[in-house]
């Protein structure tokens, strides 16, 4: 049972400005569940995208069952028997289970042009039976739970006679019982001799299901461990790597700074299960955690972008109703989205409009007409203050660089005089020079007495900038660190700490 299914050797992949993979290696045996772990941006997804042909590698070799192969595109990898099951399932909710499994491979009946659903129902039932799954092939997929939908994806993979199944965070949205069901199915596949690549950050789970663990960091494969011999501490240390020396910014936060913003027991959807925190005037509070921990969702909830189902928001010690972004803004809360193009900017409009759009009422002449002169003066002032590089305030925001676009969003909120600023991944997609400018701005804003919440997936950024850090995992605050405790090891421990009895539906 130890035939090599896949060997990837010295794989490199470069994107403009980033070396996403640097001579990474990986191997998978038949009948093995091989876990792949690493921090955000360690290169796990890129490596898998190379394996499934979404990206073409710059360097390196891939052997499939001992023979070198070049993988061109998803269709090619599928025909080789490599299938990836993504976190977001790709199913058509209005079609039946069998119709989903055999989409694109429908069977025709005796009458030409008419589909024979009975044939595919029978085939689907066979596969589902093989996996010991009790699902009716004729039921509409939209009516199934997420866990069962995932099983349909697995069944679909099997219907292609796949040899290698890649699962990306398959348990992220499952309850405990559903997880044990999934593991049962994974073991069936393993015993059939399939190879399974299991990507997850839940270290306890990896111990239950995998036989080997490969740790990735900064685009390299650090080491492959035999699961039985690996301790959680070792894995975390390998993920984090050598403690890099990060110059912490000097914090000027006075001891007695008052609490400006507080959230109590926030719940919202499935990703925010119980979140409480405080931010003080002049403080930079970090929100750390792995992708999917619910940080953005928590921020959107306290901002009123999504309606919270439970919880309380206090500004300056007074409970306030935040039911819409308009309410939040009125209380001086601003949210700078991680996806500034989609949620932060009016790309087709100019810098002047974008800076004044949240404060139009202050830029009116009389009650009706816009005071263009005042809006323009303000835009020019903010452009200067924040050093936004644009030929003029009439320039369309679409034409600015990422860093300058981010500054335009910031200018919008400074124009509105917001005191509580939530920055969600403010440096994503921004070059190094512009990043440092954003850091300097954050410091200046804190020094000016703003309360700042910094959500970031880049630990060095969190460690460098924050006075205090809240760590989230799966919708809950799992830890809080201050001062010297703000280090990678500590944060990663909390970020991978899945609480016992953490899932309501499991009980």
């Amino acid at each position: 049972m130890t035939d090599n299914l896949i060997r990837m050797i010295g794989i490199s992949k470069e994107f403009p400005g980033v070396k996403a993979l640097n001579k990474a290696s990986f191997e998978l045996d038949a009948g093995e569940v091989h876990a792949l772990v690493g921090e955000n941006g360690a290169g796990k997804s890129t490596l898998m995208k190379v394996l499934t042909g979404v990206y073409t590698k710059d360097e390196g070799e891939i052997f499939y069952k001992g023979r070198p192969v070049g993988i061109h595109g998803i269709r090619h990898s599928q025909s080789l028997g490599i299938v990836m099951i993504h976190q977001e399932l790709n199913l058509m909710n209005h079609l039946s289970v069998a119709q989903n499994i055999f989409i694109g491979r429908e069977e025709h009946g005796r009458i030409p042009l008419f589909l024979n659903d009975q044939a595919i129902n029978k085939k689907a039932a066979e596969i589902l039976g093989r996996l010991n799954m009790d699902i009716d092939p004729t039921v509409r997929v939209g009516l199934l739970t997420v866990a069962k939908q995932q099983m349909i994806e697995i069944a679909k993979a099997l219907s292609y006679n796949s040899e290698i199944i890649i699962m990306d965070e398959p348990t992220a949205s499952l309850t405990d019982t559903e997880i044990s069901d999934l593991f049962r199915v994974i073991r069936i596949l393993r015993d059939e001799g399939k190879g399974i690549i299991y990507i997850s950050h839940r270290l306890e789970e990896l111990k239950q299901i995998s036989s080997r663990i490969t740790v990735m960091r900064d685009g390299e494969t650090v080491r492959t461990l035999v699961t039985a011999e690996a301790s959680t501490d070792t894995i975390i240390r390998l993920m984090v790597g050598r403690e890099l020396f990060i110059q912490k910014e000097h914090s000027a936060l006075p001891q007695d700074a008052p609490v400006l913003f507080e959230a109590r027991g926030i719940r919202c959807g499935r990703l925010v299960r119980d979140v409480s925190f405080q931010v003080r005037k002049g403080e930079i509070l970090g929100f750390a955690g792995l992708v999917g921990a619910g940080r953005t969702e928590a921020a959107r909830a306290v901002y009123g972008a999504d309606r919270m189902s439970k919880g309380e928001v206090l500004v300056g010690g007074i409970t306030v109703q935040v039911e819409s972004p308009a309410d939040a803004v009125r209380h001086g809360i601003a949210y700078l989205s991680e996806d500034r193009k989609q949620y932060g900017l009016l790309l087709g409009l100019d810098v002047e409009t974008n800076t004044s759009i949240a404060s139009m009422k202050d830029y009116l002449r009389g009650k009706l007409f816009i005071n263009f002169q005042k809006a323009r003066q303000n835009a020019e002032k903010k452009t200067k203050e924040l050093d936004i590089r644009t030929p003029s305030v009439r320039q369309l925001v679409r034409n600015l660089s990422g860093g300058n676009q981010q500054k335009v969003v910031l200018a919008k909120w400074l124009t509105r005089n917001c005191d509580i600023l939530i920055f969600d991944e403010p440096t994503r997609g921004i070059d190094v020079g512009a990043k440092n400018e954003i850091y300097r701005l954050l410091r200046d804003l804190a020094a000016a007495g703003k309360a700042i919440i910094l959500i970031s997936s880049e630990l060095p950024e969190i460690i460098r900038m924050c006075d205090r850090v809240i760590v989230m995992c799966e919708g809950r605050v799992t830890g809080e660190v201050t001062g010297d405790e703000i280090n990678q090891q500590r944060i990663m421990q909390y970020a991978t700490a899945r609480e016992e009895n953490g899932l309501e539906a499991g009980a």
Binding site: S324, A326, V329, Q342, I370, P391
Partner: protein, 322 residues
Amino acid sequence: MKGQLKSRIGTQKLIILATLAALFTFFSMMRPNFASYLNLMTIALSTCVNGILALGATFVITSGGIDLSLGTTMTFCSVMSGVSFVSWGFPIWLAIVFGFAVGAVCGGISGFAITKMKLPPFIATMAMQMMTKGLSLVVSGIKPVYFTGSENYKKIAMGNFLGIEGFYNAFILFIIIIVLAHLTYSKTLLGRYTTAIGSNQEAARLSGIKTDKWKILIYAVSGIFSAAAGLIMSSRLGSAQPQLGAGYELEAIAAAVIGGTSMSGGEGTIIGTVIGAFIISVLTNGLRTMAVSTEWQTVVTGFVLALAVYFDKLRRERRERA
């Protein structure tokens, strides 16, 4: 860069203006009477109604929506106005104001259905189209409502401005409405938010703008434009014709789109729409003077619409790449 921005907006208007000029020249050469004073006034008069509806369409489409009830709301407003004058004994000024109120309410209801009931704009306004169409017939008893007893009503649109023969008051009203629309569109909060919502509704909402409220207002404004068109229409005919109206909305949307209003929202100009409305009128009128049948006029208009949007798309793609 500043010059580039100006020239880009200018290019688009220049193109449609050139199209209009080309059509005009073509028809004048083919049929000398086409450019006669009388015919020009006819063209202008027919542009008034469609042009005003197109202005309403410009607001709604810029906000990322659509309004299919423009034409039938127009009719409903004039029928209600007429009924209030004839049957309920409203003074004529109040009857006119009432017509505008009806328009605003119809639009507001569409806006409510779109924002609060979350109906797609296409469906919400199509429902409004059917309802106003039906109500016009019910209220009027499927008979024209004559504004008898107010000799001046007809003069609102058809009186000669400053006594100039053939230069109707309707033109002056049209010009006033264009100016008002332009000011609202480019200089007021409503116009700014219309563009912002159409450009990126979610970003606008997250900027603290009450997008629902503004969208309801935008549809109400569209209803007010319908009422204005209804006023001119009924004044011209001396009566409210309950069976008219259906189909006008499509011509209005076409005028806005030919004029450069982006169907995906966030972009458009009032002047562009006015030029778009004239292109349609010139085309229809010109083909008629050349004795092309009504059926073929429709075919040609459809073709021009597709062509205009295609060129606009090419222009946008070029810009996005740049």
